[in-house]
Symmetry: D2
Subunit: 311 residues, 4 copies
């Protein structure tokens, strides 16, 4: 990985950007599954040891990536296919899902900035059941097994004056969910991946990640319950894009990028807190929110006529 300022929230990209020989490092296992017909690629990166964690710059844990170039085309059947696969992966990674769980789904990000609105969007459209279970019990539902789902949109620090972590922690302590699922917009390294990739991990959200650059960790360690994070890269950090374009061109020109990396870094200061996003970001975020929302509803076994009454 170049020493120029580079940022990605995708474990997959970290690995891609490692030197060829470094990839085979111990402590990191990678499995890939490509489905030709649907062009859906599922990659599972498991960081198993502290060594692997250090090499990857990411915490120990499992990182699953679903990639599909046609993810945002207006094709309901295809969306269904991706969301079914996503639900399958979620059921494998959410601990205790075979029992009746109390789950809090947290939508991180800023609902007023399109590229950062994924999390709030998903929670806005989720089937919420906790209040009905509390009031009517399982009698309100047709199903044998019902999870208690609650939803929280904490907002961003510039608008709340509080860390997302503080808010979530306070609400977790009052309402005691068994597990927290966090949905967030991420930064990728490559524009090619924007809004075409979904990452699931059991490591939660770490400082500096997400479009909004969360400061406090949202992890099992911080909250006291398992935290599953679902992330979609919707932006590329502006400094990263410039650095990458630069490196690429230098190589094409047969030069060694390192020679002027210091000039480069100093010249990128004005790009701090700037990001690159696409023109159709509103449409694309809406499509992916829909896919994730369907996957979550089906993971928690709702959205299938299971409510006999809606509150």
């Amino acid at each position: 990985m170049s020493s120029l300022r580079v940022r990605t929230d995708l474990a997959l990209e970290v690995r891609e950007n490692m030197e060829e020989n470094a990839r085979e490092c111990r402590g990191v296992s990678v499995e890939e599954d490509y489905r030709e017909e649907s062009e859906l690629r599922i990659t599972k990166v498991v960081i198993e040891t502290m060594n692997g964690s250090k090499a990857m710059g990411k915490p120990i844990g499992t990182y699953i990536t679903l990639e599909a170039p046609a993810m945002v085309l207006p094709d309901e059947d295809y969306h269904q296919e991706i969301s079914t696969e996503l639900a399958r992966q979620l059921r494998l990674i959410i601990p205790g899902i075979e029992k009746e769980l109390s789950v809090m789904v947290v939508g991180l990000g800023n609902r007023d900035v399109t590229a950062d609105s994924l999390g709030p969007n998903v929670v806005d459209n989720l089937v919420i059941t906790r209040h009905m279970m509390k009031e009517y019990g399982k009698a309100a539902f047709d199903k044998k097994r019902v999870h208690m789902v609650s939803g929280l949109v904490p907002g961003v620090m510039a608008k709340t004056g509080m860390e997302s972590q503080e808010i979530i922690k306070g609400v977790v302590e009052k309402t005691n969910p068994d597990v927290v699922v966090v949905v967030d917009a991420l930064a990728a390294r490559s524009t090619r991946r924007l809004n075409r990739t979904i990452q699931i991990t059991n490591t939660g959200i770490h400082p500096g990640s997400g479009v909004g650059n969360h400061r406090g960790a949202i992890t099992q360690e911080a909250l006291g319950v398992p935290v599953i994070a679902i992330g979609v890269p919707t932006v590329v950090d502006a400094a990263t894009i410039v650095g990458d374009a630069f490196e690429k061109m230098m190589r094409q020109a047969g030069e060694e990028p390192l020679d002027i990396k210091d000039e480069l870094s100093s010249g990128l200061g004005e790009l701090y807190n700037m990001y690159v996003t696409g023109k159709d970001v509103d449409y694309e975020i809406r499509q992916i929110s829909h896919i994730i929302c369907d996957a979550l509803n089906s993971t928690f076994e709702l959205g299938e006529g299971s409510l006999s009454r809606m509150g």
Copy 2:
């Protein structure tokens, strides 16, 4: 007050609807101030004793109402006048405002239902300072005295699965504000008052009040810190409007409404959870949010060039 189902969140209307002789009840004091030029009427109802509380059906405390028929006309100077008065009243009722306070402003209600979006609207536009005070201290500001302002939009139970009270309590315990200011859309008895009245009270929010009918109290007793509530009637309960129209007509026809009150009550069941609102509610809510937001910003001494840097 008629025994037909009637609902109002305004102390002022409770009193108006009492029988003439009942108004002079002990334990309730009323002061009124009318400013002819601006047509601004300020009424202060203080419920002093348990007796007064019982007679009024409202908790002991102070209820201040600002009424202005032209409140929503597009007149910046007039808005300024109302918001200045509102700020003056807030400074009188917020305990400890003469020191440096940590204040959490909570916007109750549902941002996706126009008539219930007042609270979220106000918090969205508030100047938030807590995170900057935490990071830079007072050095970030030009002023000598700076309050730490945070903002929270908990969302409604149908979308979170949680009581607003649970969420607020959790966040209060984590972030320890000195005082909580709650902004909410209310139900009035008369359409004439909609979006032309602002009520301030130091009694907080009680079960059954607000457009969304909160179940858990948001009061000093529940949260452990003083709670000031700012409310604006934006809807009339549908059953109330039918009941009132009915009573009025019966009286005009010289009949006694009580005779058929049971039939009436049973006939109103289908109006449960329905409310009456005006066609221009979007415009009107925007205007009043603006007035309240300006008043809060000025109460906390910001919005006047006092930030040397904005985070």
Copy 3:
């Protein structure tokens, strides 16, 4: 029909409220189809003559109503069922749909007032193809037959200063669609029908109809091309609800409502421009928009993987 002020935009309700004997009037035919399993009721009212039009107070034409009590429950399969039926009805009523059409879908109403936001919501989520057909031709699509779909959200008079009719007419004259489909939120007489009923008609939109009370007709006569209207009752006029509740109670009390109808009417003045709506209107509008959007996309044969590229 009572002579009290009553308003409904549903042909179905007009007929229900006619006296028993008046229903069999000549010039109006009614067909009903009830599907027990899905509880879906389809009623087709055809006003065939001027006599029928006069009796019904609605223009000559076809009015199809889909009613389903569970329309807004979170059940994707059921939504699919309703939307498939809606698409079938649309294909029967849109003239020329068997050829390749240029269709403009117009979303009437105010996107900032939840109960009036149905039209804008539907158009926001529609698959739009006109610009791609203009640029790439049919090569951009996998399908043999592709309709050219454009979308317009004209906004309401209070925000544009213009009649919706003026705006639509101007755009129709510039872009020459073969047919216009108008989507609008309507007023019903009964709260029971709110957000559970979809009306399709080939008579367009007439003055005084819709939540926003359009003044200029949006009809074939006005625009020069056929106009199909899709409407969903989302509100009840406040004066209507009071009048109806009053009549019902008078009858229950064995009295004759007509005796005091004048007092009633005069007492309802303050309810002008007020309407009644439910607490969950945001959720319900979102569900129905989704159903209508799916039906339109499928009517125009898109949303099924038919785009090889999205612009």
Copy 4:
């Protein structure tokens, strides 16, 4: 100006980026006014001849720029100052403003993409009077002179399938305004200018300009009435930012950028339709919309208590 791909919608930046000696070209005059106290810089570039137009790559006409580094700080008084100056400039450039005008304000852009939502935002908050003048005449207003203001938000091509130009032209022909004022979000070359600059021009909107890259001109030539454009740079084109960073670094390294410009250009293809924007774009757009809206309301002499009734 470098031959690398560069894009700016600001005449000011075009000039800055010209070679020192080229700036003194004939046919272009520049006046600058800097107000030390408010840090407000007003620059007037007038392109007077075809030669000047060719040199600048912009049409003949007047381009006024207001720049203020503190434009988006939460300071009402300062906003007032900028908006007063903006109104003064608008009164100088809008032809016929001394008479009673019929003005259509058009908000270009996509309301669902934050950086492109400036135009819709401004129109949403404008005081609209045309419908009231049509219905009540000047009697509805306190003022002697009242302009008829209408507002239009045409939407973007991806959502309408139509060019903004087609829509505006159709509506202009139906409603016959004397002048059209277009508000749009622009692309700048430098991140430093984002959301701190307002450009006014009497040349309208040209193909390829704006965040959404309009294809059809929105000019007096196209619409038949004078078109004043108000633009704010809210994004930088991603390819431009990479090209610029690259050039800067090459120069710092003492190399000649032109040597590899072809590699650069080919490497930037993936940045097509991508743009760079800041993290606080929602807050900043809201502040600037507010300033422009106030300026327009005051230009058309409203927002000062002049409505005796609001429709």
